[in-house]
Protein backbone atom coordinates (compact mmCIF):
# COMPACT_ATOMS: atom_id res chain seq x y z
CA UNK A 1 0.00 0.00 0.00
CA UNK A 2 1.29 3.43 -0.92
CA UNK A 3 0.97 5.90 1.93
CA UNK A 4 0.44 9.53 1.03
CA UNK A 5 0.60 12.72 3.08
CA UNK A 6 -0.99 16.06 2.43
CA UNK A 7 0.02 19.73 2.90
CA UNK A 8 -2.78 22.27 3.06
CA UNK A 9 -2.07 25.97 2.53
CA UNK A 10 -4.97 28.19 3.49
CA UNK A 11 -5.47 30.96 2.63
CA UNK A 12 -3.19 32.85 0.23
CA UNK A 13 -2.39 36.49 0.88
CA UNK A 14 -2.85 39.25 -1.67
CA UNK A 15 -5.33 37.12 -3.59
CA UNK A 16 -8.93 38.28 -3.58
CA UNK A 17 -11.44 35.88 -2.02
CA UNK A 18 -10.74 32.89 0.16
CA UNK A 19 -9.05 29.58 -0.60
CA UNK A 20 -6.48 27.10 0.55
CA UNK A 21 -3.86 24.89 -0.99
CA UNK A 22 -3.38 21.18 -0.33
CA UNK A 23 -0.30 19.26 -1.32
CA UNK A 24 -0.43 15.50 -0.96
CA UNK A 25 2.81 13.69 -0.34
CA UNK A 26 3.49 10.14 -1.41
CA UNK A 27 4.98 7.66 1.00
CA UNK A 28 8.46 8.28 -0.35
CA UNK A 29 8.13 12.01 0.35
CA UNK A 30 7.65 13.01 -3.27
CA UNK A 31 4.84 15.37 -4.23
CA UNK A 32 1.61 13.68 -5.16
CA UNK A 33 -1.54 15.58 -6.10
CA UNK A 34 -1.88 19.32 -5.50
CA UNK A 35 -5.24 20.91 -4.86
CA UNK A 36 -6.14 24.58 -4.90
CA UNK A 37 -9.35 24.69 -2.86
CA UNK A 38 -12.01 27.32 -2.70
CA UNK A 39 -14.10 26.99 0.39
CA UNK A 40 -17.10 29.20 -0.13
CA UNK A 41 -19.99 29.18 -2.55
CA UNK A 42 -22.38 31.94 -3.43
CA UNK A 43 -24.53 30.68 -6.29
CA UNK A 44 -25.08 33.77 -8.44
CA UNK A 45 -26.25 31.60 -11.33
CA UNK A 46 -29.14 30.44 -9.16
CA UNK A 47 -30.41 33.66 -7.76
CA UNK A 48 -30.32 35.48 -11.11
CA UNK A 49 -33.13 33.13 -12.11
CA UNK A 50 -36.53 34.76 -12.07
CA UNK A 51 -35.17 38.31 -12.54
CA UNK A 52 -36.10 40.40 -15.60
CA UNK A 53 -33.33 40.14 -18.16
CA UNK A 54 -32.80 43.88 -18.39
CA UNK A 55 -31.86 43.95 -14.69
CA UNK A 56 -29.11 41.37 -15.02
CA UNK A 57 -26.31 43.69 -16.19
CA UNK A 58 -26.80 45.66 -12.98
CA UNK A 59 -27.22 42.64 -10.69
CA UNK A 60 -24.08 40.79 -11.77
CA UNK A 61 -21.92 43.73 -10.76
CA UNK A 62 -22.42 42.49 -7.20
CA UNK A 63 -20.33 39.45 -8.12
CA UNK A 64 -17.10 41.27 -7.58
CA UNK A 65 -15.89 44.51 -6.04
CA UNK A 66 -12.74 44.44 -8.17
CA UNK A 67 -14.09 43.89 -11.68
CA UNK A 68 -17.82 44.70 -11.56
CA UNK A 69 -17.44 46.50 -14.89
CA UNK A 70 -16.37 43.31 -16.69
CA UNK A 71 -19.49 41.50 -15.46
CA UNK A 72 -21.65 44.53 -16.27
CA UNK A 73 -20.38 44.68 -19.85
CA UNK A 74 -20.37 40.93 -20.46
CA UNK A 75 -23.93 40.53 -19.20
CA UNK A 76 -24.92 43.55 -21.26
CA UNK A 77 -23.48 41.97 -24.40
CA UNK A 78 -25.46 38.80 -23.73
CA UNK A 79 -28.61 40.86 -23.21
CA UNK A 80 -28.04 42.57 -26.58
CA UNK A 81 -28.48 39.13 -28.15
CA UNK A 82 -31.71 38.57 -26.22
CA UNK A 83 -32.90 41.99 -27.35
CA UNK A 84 -32.21 40.83 -30.91
CA UNK A 85 -29.32 43.23 -31.44
CA UNK A 86 -26.20 41.92 -33.15
CA UNK A 87 -24.61 45.26 -33.94
CA UNK A 88 -24.62 48.32 -31.70
CA UNK A 89 -24.48 51.89 -32.92
CA UNK A 90 -20.95 53.17 -33.39
CA UNK A 91 -21.27 55.43 -30.35
CA UNK A 92 -22.66 52.72 -28.08
CA UNK A 93 -19.90 50.31 -29.09
CA UNK A 94 -17.14 52.84 -28.48
CA UNK A 95 -18.56 54.12 -25.19
CA UNK A 96 -18.70 50.56 -23.90
CA UNK A 97 -15.17 49.97 -25.12
CA UNK A 98 -13.71 52.98 -23.34
CA UNK A 99 -15.37 51.81 -20.13
CA UNK A 100 -13.81 48.37 -20.61
CA UNK A 101 -10.36 49.77 -21.27
CA UNK A 102 -10.70 51.92 -18.16
CA UNK A 103 -11.48 48.75 -16.24
CA UNK A 104 -8.54 46.82 -17.73
CA UNK A 105 -6.28 49.74 -16.92
CA UNK A 106 -7.29 50.11 -13.28
CA UNK A 107 -7.52 46.40 -12.54
CA UNK A 108 -4.17 45.53 -14.10
CA UNK A 109 -2.67 48.49 -12.26
CA UNK A 110 -3.98 47.08 -8.97
CA UNK A 111 -2.46 43.74 -9.71
CA UNK A 112 0.90 44.83 -11.01
CA UNK A 113 1.61 47.67 -8.62
CA UNK A 114 -0.14 46.49 -5.46
CA UNK A 115 0.15 42.72 -5.61
CA UNK A 116 2.95 41.69 -7.97
CA UNK A 117 5.55 44.45 -7.84
CA UNK A 118 6.38 43.90 -4.15
CA UNK A 119 7.41 40.32 -4.98
CA UNK A 120 9.57 41.52 -7.85
CA UNK A 121 11.03 44.52 -6.03
CA UNK A 122 11.80 42.83 -2.72
CA UNK A 123 12.21 39.18 -3.75
CA UNK A 124 10.00 36.20 -2.94
CA UNK A 125 11.95 35.44 0.21
CA UNK A 126 11.58 38.93 1.59
CA UNK A 127 9.63 39.41 4.82
CA UNK A 128 5.89 39.56 4.23
CA UNK A 129 5.67 42.89 6.04
CA UNK A 130 8.04 44.49 3.57
CA UNK A 131 6.69 42.64 0.52
CA UNK A 132 3.62 44.82 0.29
CA UNK A 133 2.56 47.93 -1.51
CA UNK A 134 3.36 49.92 1.61
CA UNK A 135 6.92 48.63 1.21
CA UNK A 136 6.87 49.82 -2.37
CA UNK A 137 5.66 53.25 -1.27
CA UNK A 138 8.37 53.54 1.36
CA UNK A 139 11.19 52.42 -0.90
CA UNK A 140 10.03 53.41 -4.39
CA UNK A 141 7.80 56.48 -3.99
CA UNK A 142 7.94 57.24 -7.70
CA UNK A 143 6.46 53.82 -8.50
CA UNK A 144 3.76 54.47 -5.91
CA UNK A 145 2.93 57.71 -7.68
CA UNK A 146 2.47 55.86 -10.98
CA UNK A 147 0.31 53.24 -9.28
CA UNK A 148 -2.02 55.71 -7.64
CA UNK A 149 -2.43 57.88 -10.70
CA UNK A 150 -2.91 55.10 -13.27
CA UNK A 151 -5.52 53.42 -11.11
CA UNK A 152 -7.26 56.70 -10.37
CA UNK A 153 -7.37 57.51 -14.08
CA UNK A 154 -8.91 54.12 -14.92
CA UNK A 155 -11.55 54.70 -12.28
CA UNK A 156 -12.19 58.18 -13.67
CA UNK A 157 -12.85 56.73 -17.12
CA UNK A 158 -15.35 54.27 -15.62
CA UNK A 159 -17.06 57.00 -13.63
CA UNK A 160 -17.24 59.34 -16.64
CA UNK A 161 -19.33 56.88 -18.65
CA UNK A 162 -20.87 54.87 -15.82
CA UNK A 163 -21.95 57.79 -13.68
CA UNK A 164 -20.55 56.54 -10.37
CA UNK A 165 -18.00 54.23 -8.80
CA UNK A 166 -20.47 51.96 -7.03
CA UNK A 167 -22.63 50.03 -9.46
CA UNK A 168 -21.91 52.14 -12.53
CA UNK A 169 -24.81 52.12 -14.92
CA UNK A 170 -24.04 52.32 -18.61
CA UNK A 171 -25.24 49.24 -20.45
CA UNK A 172 -28.85 48.62 -21.43
CA UNK A 173 -29.99 45.89 -23.83
CA UNK A 174 -29.11 47.09 -27.32
CA UNK A 175 -26.93 50.01 -26.30
CA UNK A 176 -25.91 52.48 -23.62
CA UNK A 177 -27.74 55.13 -21.64
CA UNK A 178 -25.23 57.95 -22.14
CA UNK A 179 -22.32 59.08 -24.24
CA UNK A 180 -19.11 60.77 -23.14
CA UNK A 181 -19.65 64.51 -22.88
CA UNK A 182 -17.10 66.97 -24.20
CA UNK A 183 -16.43 68.23 -20.66
CA UNK A 184 -15.79 64.67 -19.42
CA UNK A 185 -13.65 63.96 -22.45
CA UNK A 186 -11.52 67.05 -21.98
CA UNK A 187 -10.83 66.28 -18.33
CA UNK A 188 -9.59 62.83 -19.31
CA UNK A 189 -7.61 64.17 -22.26
CA UNK A 190 -5.66 66.36 -19.86
CA UNK A 191 -4.36 63.31 -18.03
CA UNK A 192 -4.13 60.53 -20.60
CA UNK A 193 -0.65 61.31 -21.94
CA UNK A 194 0.79 61.07 -18.46
CA UNK A 195 -0.98 57.74 -17.96
CA UNK A 196 0.39 56.30 -21.21
CA UNK A 197 3.88 57.49 -20.27
CA UNK A 198 3.72 56.00 -16.79
CA UNK A 199 2.40 52.69 -18.12
CA UNK A 200 5.45 52.71 -20.40
CA UNK A 201 7.68 53.39 -17.40
CA UNK A 202 6.00 50.51 -15.54
CA UNK A 203 6.74 48.24 -18.50
CA UNK A 204 10.43 49.16 -18.42
CA UNK A 205 10.51 48.59 -14.66
CA UNK A 206 8.82 45.21 -15.02
CA UNK A 207 11.24 44.13 -17.76
CA UNK A 208 14.26 45.23 -15.75
CA UNK A 209 13.12 43.35 -12.66
CA UNK A 210 12.40 40.21 -14.66
CA UNK A 211 15.67 40.33 -16.59
CA UNK A 212 17.65 40.75 -13.36
CA UNK A 213 16.37 37.37 -12.15
CA UNK A 214 15.43 35.78 -15.46
CA UNK A 215 16.85 32.31 -14.85
CA UNK A 216 14.74 31.75 -11.77
CA UNK A 217 11.63 33.57 -12.92
CA UNK A 218 11.42 31.72 -16.24
CA UNK A 219 11.27 28.39 -14.47
CA UNK A 220 9.17 29.37 -11.46
CA UNK A 221 5.89 27.43 -11.48
CA UNK A 222 6.27 27.08 -15.22
CA UNK A 223 5.01 24.41 -17.64
CA UNK A 224 3.80 24.29 -21.21
CA UNK A 225 0.08 24.72 -21.79
CA UNK A 226 -2.61 25.61 -24.28
CA UNK A 227 -4.06 29.14 -24.24
CA UNK A 228 -7.50 30.59 -24.91
CA UNK A 229 -8.39 34.22 -25.63
CA UNK A 230 -10.83 36.36 -27.56
CA UNK A 231 -9.16 37.71 -30.71
CA UNK A 232 -10.39 40.12 -33.38
CA UNK A 233 -11.22 38.60 -36.79
CA UNK A 234 -7.96 39.91 -38.29
CA UNK A 235 -5.91 38.41 -35.45
CA UNK A 236 -5.48 41.61 -33.45
CA UNK A 237 -5.75 41.69 -29.67
CA UNK A 238 -9.30 42.77 -28.86
CA UNK A 239 -10.08 42.67 -25.18
CA UNK A 240 -13.69 43.79 -25.72
CA UNK A 241 -14.89 41.26 -28.27
CA UNK A 242 -14.23 38.95 -31.17
CA UNK A 243 -13.96 35.23 -31.83
CA UNK A 244 -12.50 32.75 -29.39
CA UNK A 245 -9.12 31.31 -30.31
CA UNK A 246 -7.29 28.40 -28.70
CA UNK A 247 -3.66 27.59 -29.38
CA UNK A 248 -1.60 24.61 -28.30
CA UNK A 249 1.75 24.65 -26.50
CA UNK A 250 3.50 24.97 -29.86
CA UNK A 251 1.32 27.89 -30.94
CA UNK A 252 -0.73 25.89 -33.46
CA UNK A 253 -4.39 26.89 -33.57
CA UNK A 254 -6.79 24.38 -31.99
CA UNK A 255 -9.84 26.44 -32.88
CA UNK A 256 -10.39 29.99 -34.05
CA UNK A 257 -13.24 32.39 -34.75
CA UNK A 258 -15.59 30.57 -32.39
CA UNK A 259 -18.73 32.53 -31.50
CA UNK A 260 -20.22 32.67 -27.97
CA UNK A 261 -23.12 30.53 -29.16
CA UNK A 262 -20.61 27.74 -29.91
CA UNK A 263 -19.03 27.82 -26.46
CA UNK A 264 -20.41 24.48 -25.30
CA UNK A 265 -19.27 22.87 -28.55
CA UNK A 266 -15.62 23.66 -27.90
CA UNK A 267 -15.29 24.00 -24.09
CA UNK A 268 -16.42 21.38 -21.59
CA UNK A 269 -16.55 21.53 -17.77
CA UNK A 270 -15.22 18.80 -15.53
CA UNK A 271 -16.56 18.61 -11.98
CA UNK A 272 -14.32 17.22 -9.23
CA UNK A 273 -15.77 16.32 -5.85
CA UNK A 274 -13.29 18.24 -3.71
CA UNK A 275 -13.94 21.77 -5.04
CA UNK A 276 -16.78 24.07 -6.07
CA UNK A 277 -14.70 25.32 -8.99
CA UNK A 278 -15.12 23.49 -12.26
CA UNK A 279 -12.27 22.46 -14.56
CA UNK A 280 -12.90 23.70 -18.11
CA UNK A 281 -11.21 21.86 -20.99
CA UNK A 282 -11.00 22.00 -24.77
CA UNK A 283 -13.34 19.25 -25.92
CA UNK A 284 -11.28 18.05 -28.87
CA UNK A 285 -8.33 17.41 -26.55
CA UNK A 286 -10.35 15.75 -23.78
CA UNK A 287 -10.31 16.24 -20.00
CA UNK A 288 -6.74 15.08 -19.51
CA UNK A 289 -5.03 17.20 -22.15
CA UNK A 290 -7.60 19.89 -22.82
CA UNK A 291 -6.96 22.23 -19.89
CA UNK A 292 -5.70 25.70 -20.80
CA UNK A 293 -4.70 29.08 -19.46
CA UNK A 294 -6.44 32.44 -19.86
CA UNK A 295 -5.39 35.93 -18.80
CA UNK A 296 -2.68 38.30 -19.92
CA UNK A 297 -0.26 35.55 -20.98
CA UNK A 298 -2.99 34.03 -23.14
CA UNK A 299 -4.10 37.44 -24.42
CA UNK A 300 -0.58 38.22 -25.63
CA UNK A 301 0.19 34.68 -26.82
CA UNK A 302 -3.03 34.19 -28.78
CA UNK A 303 -3.15 37.40 -30.80
CA UNK A 304 -1.17 37.92 -34.00
CA UNK A 305 -0.54 41.57 -33.28
CA UNK A 306 -1.65 44.51 -31.13
CA UNK A 307 -3.13 47.51 -32.90
CA UNK A 308 -1.55 50.15 -30.67
CA UNK A 309 2.09 51.01 -31.33
CA UNK A 310 3.69 50.95 -27.88
CA UNK A 311 1.98 47.74 -26.82
CA UNK A 312 2.80 46.11 -30.17
CA UNK A 313 6.50 46.94 -29.73
CA UNK A 314 6.27 45.45 -26.25
CA UNK A 315 4.54 42.32 -27.58
CA UNK A 316 7.24 41.74 -30.20
CA UNK A 317 9.91 42.15 -27.54
CA UNK A 318 8.04 39.82 -25.18
CA UNK A 319 7.53 37.09 -27.78
CA UNK A 320 11.05 37.23 -29.25
CA UNK A 321 12.55 34.44 -27.09
CA UNK A 322 9.74 32.10 -28.13
CA UNK A 323 10.67 32.41 -31.83
CA UNK A 324 7.06 32.33 -32.90
CA UNK A 325 5.90 29.96 -30.18
CA UNK A 326 4.02 30.90 -27.01
CA UNK A 327 5.81 32.15 -23.92
CA UNK A 328 5.01 29.73 -21.09
CA UNK A 329 6.80 31.27 -18.08
CA UNK A 330 4.13 31.59 -15.40
CA UNK A 331 5.61 34.70 -13.82
CA UNK A 332 5.81 36.39 -17.19
CA UNK A 333 2.07 36.86 -16.67
CA UNK A 334 3.14 40.05 -14.90
CA UNK A 335 5.06 41.24 -17.95
CA UNK A 336 2.13 40.38 -20.21
CA UNK A 337 -0.23 42.12 -17.80
CA UNK A 338 1.72 45.37 -18.07
CA UNK A 339 1.63 45.08 -21.88
CA UNK A 340 -2.17 44.78 -21.67
CA UNK A 341 -2.25 47.74 -19.28
CA UNK A 342 -0.24 49.83 -21.74
CA UNK A 343 -2.52 48.71 -24.59
CA UNK A 344 -5.58 49.76 -22.58
CA UNK A 345 -4.04 53.18 -21.90
CA UNK A 346 -3.32 53.65 -25.60
CA UNK A 347 -6.86 52.58 -26.49
CA UNK A 348 -8.37 55.04 -24.02
CA UNK A 349 -6.28 57.80 -25.59
CA UNK A 350 -7.34 56.75 -29.09
CA UNK A 351 -11.00 56.83 -28.10
CA UNK A 352 -10.71 60.18 -26.32
CA UNK A 353 -9.81 61.70 -29.69
CA UNK A 354 -12.68 59.95 -31.50
CA UNK A 355 -15.73 62.18 -31.98
CA UNK A 356 -18.00 59.14 -32.20
CA UNK A 357 -18.04 59.10 -28.40
CA UNK A 358 -20.11 62.27 -28.44
CA UNK A 359 -22.77 60.79 -30.76
CA UNK A 360 -26.43 60.71 -29.78
CA UNK A 361 -27.49 57.44 -31.41
CA UNK A 362 -27.20 55.21 -28.38
CA UNK A 363 -29.67 52.32 -28.66
CA UNK A 364 -30.66 49.79 -31.28
CA UNK A 365 -33.65 47.46 -31.14
CA UNK A 366 -34.32 44.06 -32.65
CA UNK A 367 -36.52 41.01 -32.42
CA UNK A 368 -36.50 39.31 -29.01
CA UNK A 369 -34.68 36.00 -28.69
CA UNK A 370 -34.91 33.38 -25.94
CA UNK A 371 -31.16 33.12 -25.34
CA UNK A 372 -28.07 35.29 -25.35
CA UNK A 373 -24.38 34.54 -24.84
CA UNK A 374 -21.30 36.74 -24.85
CA UNK A 375 -17.73 36.98 -23.69
CA UNK A 376 -15.19 39.62 -22.92
CA UNK A 377 -11.49 39.54 -22.08
CA UNK A 378 -11.63 40.65 -18.47
CA UNK A 379 -8.32 41.68 -16.88
CA UNK A 380 -7.90 38.13 -15.54
CA UNK A 381 -8.92 36.46 -18.80
CA UNK A 382 -11.89 35.19 -20.72
CA UNK A 383 -15.24 35.83 -19.03
CA UNK A 384 -18.35 34.13 -20.47
CA UNK A 385 -22.03 34.78 -19.68
CA UNK A 386 -25.05 32.96 -21.13
CA UNK A 387 -28.70 33.49 -20.23
CA UNK A 388 -32.04 31.99 -21.23
CA UNK A 389 -35.25 33.96 -20.68
CA UNK A 390 -38.92 32.97 -20.84
CA UNK A 391 -41.84 34.66 -22.54
CA UNK A 392 -42.29 36.92 -19.52
CA UNK A 393 -38.72 38.23 -19.93
CA UNK A 394 -37.57 36.42 -16.78
CA UNK A 395 -34.23 34.62 -16.65
CA UNK A 396 -34.70 30.85 -16.47
CA UNK A 397 -31.08 29.76 -16.75
CA UNK A 398 -27.66 31.40 -16.38
CA UNK A 399 -24.12 30.19 -16.91
CA UNK A 400 -21.15 32.27 -15.84
CA UNK A 401 -17.62 31.05 -16.60
CA UNK A 402 -15.05 33.38 -15.04
CA UNK A 403 -11.34 33.65 -15.72
CA UNK A 404 -10.22 32.14 -12.43
CA UNK A 405 -12.29 29.04 -13.16
CA UNK A 406 -10.69 28.81 -16.59
CA UNK A 407 -7.28 28.89 -14.89
CA UNK A 408 -8.23 26.32 -12.25
CA UNK A 409 -6.10 23.46 -13.55
CA UNK A 410 -3.21 25.78 -14.35
CA UNK A 411 -3.15 27.21 -10.82
CA UNK A 412 -3.08 23.68 -9.44
CA UNK A 413 -0.21 22.78 -11.73
CA UNK A 414 1.80 25.87 -10.81
CA UNK A 415 1.41 25.11 -7.11
CA UNK A 416 2.42 21.53 -7.79
CA UNK A 417 5.55 22.66 -9.62
CA UNK A 418 6.51 25.01 -6.79
CA UNK A 419 5.92 22.27 -4.23
CA UNK A 420 8.16 19.91 -6.15
CA UNK A 421 10.86 22.56 -6.36
CA UNK A 422 10.68 23.99 -2.84
CA UNK A 423 9.25 21.43 -0.41
CA UNK A 424 11.95 19.80 1.70
CA UNK A 425 10.89 17.16 4.22
CA UNK A 426 7.65 17.73 6.08
CA UNK A 427 8.29 21.26 7.23
CA UNK A 428 6.13 24.06 5.93
CA UNK A 429 8.81 26.68 5.59
CA UNK A 430 8.46 30.39 4.98
CA UNK A 431 10.13 29.87 1.62
CA UNK A 432 7.51 27.32 0.56
CA UNK A 433 4.71 29.52 1.86
CA UNK A 434 6.03 32.57 0.05
CA UNK A 435 6.62 30.75 -3.21
CA UNK A 436 3.16 29.21 -3.30
CA UNK A 437 1.69 32.64 -2.74
CA UNK A 438 3.74 34.03 -5.60
CA UNK A 439 2.67 31.21 -7.93
CA UNK A 440 -1.03 31.58 -7.16
CA UNK A 441 -0.85 35.35 -7.41
CA UNK A 442 0.60 35.16 -10.93
CA UNK A 443 -2.90 34.23 -12.12
CA UNK A 444 -4.43 37.13 -10.18
CA UNK A 445 -7.22 34.79 -9.15
CA UNK A 446 -10.37 36.46 -7.99
CA UNK A 447 -11.82 33.79 -5.79
CA UNK A 448 -14.85 35.89 -5.05
CA UNK A 449 -15.76 35.59 -8.71
CA UNK A 450 -14.75 31.99 -9.12
CA UNK A 451 -16.84 30.70 -6.27
CA UNK A 452 -19.25 33.56 -6.15
CA UNK A 453 -18.28 34.23 -2.54
CA UNK A 454 -17.26 37.30 -0.64
CA UNK A 455 -14.35 37.24 1.73
CA UNK A 456 -10.75 37.99 2.51
CA UNK A 457 -7.86 35.83 1.53
CA UNK A 458 -5.38 35.00 4.26
CA UNK A 459 -3.14 31.86 4.06
CA UNK A 460 -3.13 28.50 5.89
CA UNK A 461 -0.92 25.46 5.43
CA UNK A 462 -1.66 21.93 6.58
CA UNK A 463 0.37 18.79 6.06
CA UNK A 464 -1.72 15.63 5.98
CA UNK A 465 -1.18 11.93 5.64
CA UNK A 466 -3.18 9.89 3.16
CA UNK A 467 -5.74 8.99 5.82
CA UNK A 468 -6.42 12.68 6.49
CA UNK A 469 -4.28 12.88 9.60
CA UNK A 470 -2.77 16.32 10.00
CA UNK A 471 1.00 16.27 10.16
CA UNK A 472 1.61 20.02 10.40
CA UNK A 473 -0.23 23.30 9.86
CA UNK A 474 0.72 26.93 9.43
CA UNK A 475 -1.42 29.99 9.05
CA UNK A 476 -0.69 33.48 7.83
CA UNK A 477 -3.39 36.10 8.20
Amino acid sequence: MIETRKIVIDPVTRVEGHGKVTIRLNEDGSIGETRFHVVEFRGFERFIRGRPYWEVAMIVQRLCGICPVSHHLCAGKAMDKIAGVDRLTVTADKVRRIMHYGQVLQSNAVHFFHLASPDLLFGFEGPVGKRSFVGTIENYPEVAKWAIFVRKFGQSVIKAVGGKKIHPSLVIPGGVNKNLSIAERDLLRNEVDRVVAWCGDALELCKRLIHEDAARLEDFGTFESSYVSVVRSDGAMDLYGGGLRAIGPDGAKIFDGVTPEMYDDVIGDEVRPWTYMKFPYIRTLGKERGWFRVGPLAQVNCCDFIDTPLAENARVDFKRPGRGKPIHATLYQHWARVICMLHAAEKVKELLYDDDLQGDDLVTTGKRRPEGAAWIEAPRGTLYHRYRVDEDDLVTNAKLAVATTNNNEAINRSVNKVAIDYLAGHEITDVLLNNIEVAVRAYDPCLSCATHALGDMPLFVTLEASDGTTIATRARA
Binding site: G65, H114, A144, A147, I148, K165, I166
Partner: protein
Protein backbone atom coordinates in the same frame (compact mmCIF):
# COMPACT_ATOMS: atom_id res chain seq x y z
CA UNK B 1 2.42 108.10 3.85
CA UNK B 2 0.56 105.77 5.96
CA UNK B 3 0.91 102.19 5.06
CA UNK B 4 -1.93 99.99 5.93
CA UNK B 5 -1.44 96.33 6.32
CA UNK B 6 -4.17 94.44 4.60
CA UNK B 7 -4.86 90.89 5.53
CA UNK B 8 -5.50 88.65 2.56
CA UNK B 9 -8.87 86.94 2.75
CA UNK B 10 -8.59 83.45 4.09
CA UNK B 11 -9.93 81.05 1.46
CA UNK B 12 -12.46 78.48 2.51
CA UNK B 13 -10.86 75.15 3.20
CA UNK B 14 -11.11 72.55 0.48
CA UNK B 15 -13.09 69.71 1.93
CA UNK B 16 -13.16 66.11 0.74
CA UNK B 17 -15.91 63.73 1.87
CA UNK B 18 -15.06 60.03 1.52
CA UNK B 19 -18.11 57.86 2.29
CA UNK B 20 -17.44 54.15 1.97
CA UNK B 21 -19.13 50.82 2.52
CA UNK B 22 -21.14 48.19 0.69
CA UNK B 23 -24.77 49.12 -0.02
CA UNK B 24 -25.35 45.42 -0.69
CA UNK B 25 -24.82 44.81 3.03
CA UNK B 26 -27.65 46.99 4.31
CA UNK B 27 -26.37 49.49 6.91
CA UNK B 28 -22.81 49.06 5.66
CA UNK B 29 -24.01 51.44 2.95
CA UNK B 30 -24.31 54.33 5.42
CA UNK B 31 -21.01 55.85 4.26
CA UNK B 32 -21.91 56.00 0.55
CA UNK B 33 -25.44 57.14 1.42
CA UNK B 34 -24.01 60.01 3.47
CA UNK B 35 -21.60 61.00 0.69
CA UNK B 36 -24.37 60.99 -1.89
CA UNK B 37 -26.61 63.08 0.35
CA UNK B 38 -23.82 65.59 0.93
CA UNK B 39 -23.16 65.77 -2.80
CA UNK B 40 -26.81 66.70 -3.24
CA UNK B 41 -26.21 69.73 -0.97
CA UNK B 42 -24.08 71.13 -3.85
CA UNK B 43 -21.81 73.05 -1.53
CA UNK B 44 -19.00 75.05 -3.10
CA UNK B 45 -15.55 73.71 -2.26
CA UNK B 46 -16.86 70.38 -1.03
CA UNK B 47 -16.00 67.29 -3.07
CA UNK B 48 -17.54 63.92 -2.35
CA UNK B 49 -16.74 60.32 -3.20
CA UNK B 50 -18.91 57.28 -2.53
CA UNK B 51 -17.24 53.92 -2.90
CA UNK B 52 -17.27 50.34 -1.62
CA UNK B 53 -14.06 50.91 0.25
CA UNK B 54 -11.22 53.34 0.60
CA UNK B 55 -8.67 53.05 -2.18
CA UNK B 56 -5.06 54.14 -2.30
CA UNK B 57 -5.92 56.66 -5.01
CA UNK B 58 -8.04 58.48 -2.44
CA UNK B 59 -4.66 59.75 -1.22
CA UNK B 60 -4.37 61.77 -4.43
CA UNK B 61 -7.61 63.61 -3.71
CA UNK B 62 -6.73 63.93 -0.04
CA UNK B 63 -3.51 65.66 -1.03
CA UNK B 64 -5.55 68.32 -2.83
CA UNK B 65 -7.72 68.97 0.22
CA UNK B 66 -7.37 70.86 3.47
CA UNK B 67 -9.81 68.69 5.34
CA UNK B 68 -10.87 65.10 4.75
CA UNK B 69 -14.00 63.71 6.38
CA UNK B 70 -14.20 59.92 6.28
CA UNK B 71 -17.70 58.53 6.79
CA UNK B 72 -18.18 54.85 7.58
CA UNK B 73 -20.82 52.66 9.17
CA UNK B 74 -20.20 51.68 12.80
CA UNK B 75 -21.25 48.25 14.00
CA UNK B 76 -21.00 49.37 17.59
CA UNK B 77 -20.39 52.54 19.53
CA UNK B 78 -22.38 55.69 20.23
CA UNK B 79 -25.69 56.53 18.63
CA UNK B 80 -26.46 58.26 16.38
CA UNK B 81 -22.84 58.72 15.33
CA UNK B 82 -19.34 59.26 16.63
CA UNK B 83 -16.62 61.64 15.54
CA UNK B 84 -12.92 61.05 16.01
CA UNK B 85 -9.77 62.65 14.60
CA UNK B 86 -7.64 60.60 12.20
CA UNK B 87 -3.87 60.56 12.40
CA UNK B 88 -1.71 59.54 9.44
CA UNK B 89 -0.02 56.14 9.51
CA UNK B 90 1.99 54.09 7.05
CA UNK B 91 2.35 50.96 9.11
CA UNK B 92 -1.20 49.69 8.92
CA UNK B 93 -1.14 45.94 9.18
CA UNK B 94 -4.56 45.37 7.65
CA UNK B 95 -3.47 46.75 4.32
CA UNK B 96 -4.55 44.84 1.23
CA UNK B 97 -6.15 45.90 -2.02
CA UNK B 98 -9.55 45.32 -0.38
CA UNK B 99 -8.70 46.98 2.93
CA UNK B 100 -7.34 50.50 3.19
CA UNK B 101 -7.65 52.34 6.49
CA UNK B 102 -8.31 56.12 6.76
CA UNK B 103 -4.97 56.45 8.53
CA UNK B 104 -3.21 54.96 5.51
CA UNK B 105 -4.95 57.29 3.07
CA UNK B 106 -3.61 60.21 5.10
CA UNK B 107 -0.20 58.58 5.44
CA UNK B 108 0.02 58.10 1.68
CA UNK B 109 -1.04 61.68 1.08
CA UNK B 110 1.82 62.90 3.23
CA UNK B 111 4.41 60.37 2.05
CA UNK B 112 3.74 60.42 -1.68
CA UNK B 113 2.43 63.95 -2.22
CA UNK B 114 3.91 65.85 0.70
CA UNK B 115 0.62 67.24 1.94
CA UNK B 116 -1.15 66.22 5.10
CA UNK B 117 -4.74 67.41 5.38
CA UNK B 118 -6.52 67.44 8.68
CA UNK B 119 -9.04 64.65 8.98
CA UNK B 120 -11.77 63.11 11.04
CA UNK B 121 -13.79 59.93 10.90
CA UNK B 122 -17.54 59.95 11.36
CA UNK B 123 -18.91 56.56 12.28
CA UNK B 124 -22.66 56.42 11.82
CA UNK B 125 -24.17 53.67 13.88
CA UNK B 126 -25.72 50.79 11.89
CA UNK B 127 -27.54 47.69 13.03
CA UNK B 128 -28.19 45.36 10.08
CA UNK B 129 -25.38 44.05 7.88
CA UNK B 130 -26.84 41.06 6.06
CA UNK B 131 -26.71 40.57 2.26
CA UNK B 132 -29.53 42.86 1.29
CA UNK B 133 -29.95 46.39 -0.02
CA UNK B 134 -31.56 49.24 1.90
CA UNK B 135 -30.75 50.91 5.21
CA UNK B 136 -32.60 49.85 8.34
CA UNK B 137 -35.04 52.39 9.79
CA UNK B 138 -32.81 53.08 12.79
CA UNK B 139 -29.77 53.58 10.57
CA UNK B 140 -31.73 55.99 8.39
CA UNK B 141 -32.63 58.00 11.47
CA UNK B 142 -28.98 58.11 12.55
CA UNK B 143 -27.95 59.14 9.06
CA UNK B 144 -30.46 61.98 9.06
CA UNK B 145 -29.14 63.33 12.36
CA UNK B 146 -25.54 63.05 11.20
CA UNK B 147 -26.33 64.87 7.98
CA UNK B 148 -27.92 67.80 9.81
CA UNK B 149 -24.72 68.35 11.79
CA UNK B 150 -22.40 67.78 8.85
CA UNK B 151 -24.38 70.19 6.69
CA UNK B 152 -24.29 72.91 9.33
CA UNK B 153 -20.57 72.49 9.73
CA UNK B 154 -19.92 72.52 6.00
CA UNK B 155 -22.10 75.53 5.35
CA UNK B 156 -20.41 77.45 8.12
CA UNK B 157 -17.02 76.21 6.95
CA UNK B 158 -16.24 75.56 10.57
CA UNK B 159 -14.82 72.13 9.85
CA UNK B 160 -11.19 73.15 10.17
CA UNK B 161 -11.85 75.00 13.38
CA UNK B 162 -13.81 72.14 14.82
CA UNK B 163 -11.22 69.59 13.86
CA UNK B 164 -8.47 71.65 15.41
CA UNK B 165 -10.48 71.51 18.61
CA UNK B 166 -10.21 67.77 18.62
CA UNK B 167 -12.76 66.70 16.12
CA UNK B 168 -15.88 67.49 18.13
CA UNK B 169 -18.62 68.23 15.66
CA UNK B 170 -21.41 68.12 18.16
Amino acid sequence: MEQRLQRAPVPDPRILILGYGNPGRRDDGLGPAAAEAIEAFSLCGVRTSANYQLMIEDAYDAAESDVVIFIDAAKSGPEPYSVSPVQPAMNVSAFASHVVAPELVLGLSGRVYGHLPRALLIGIRGYAFEFEEGLSARAQANLARALVHIRNVLIGRRAVMEISKGGALR
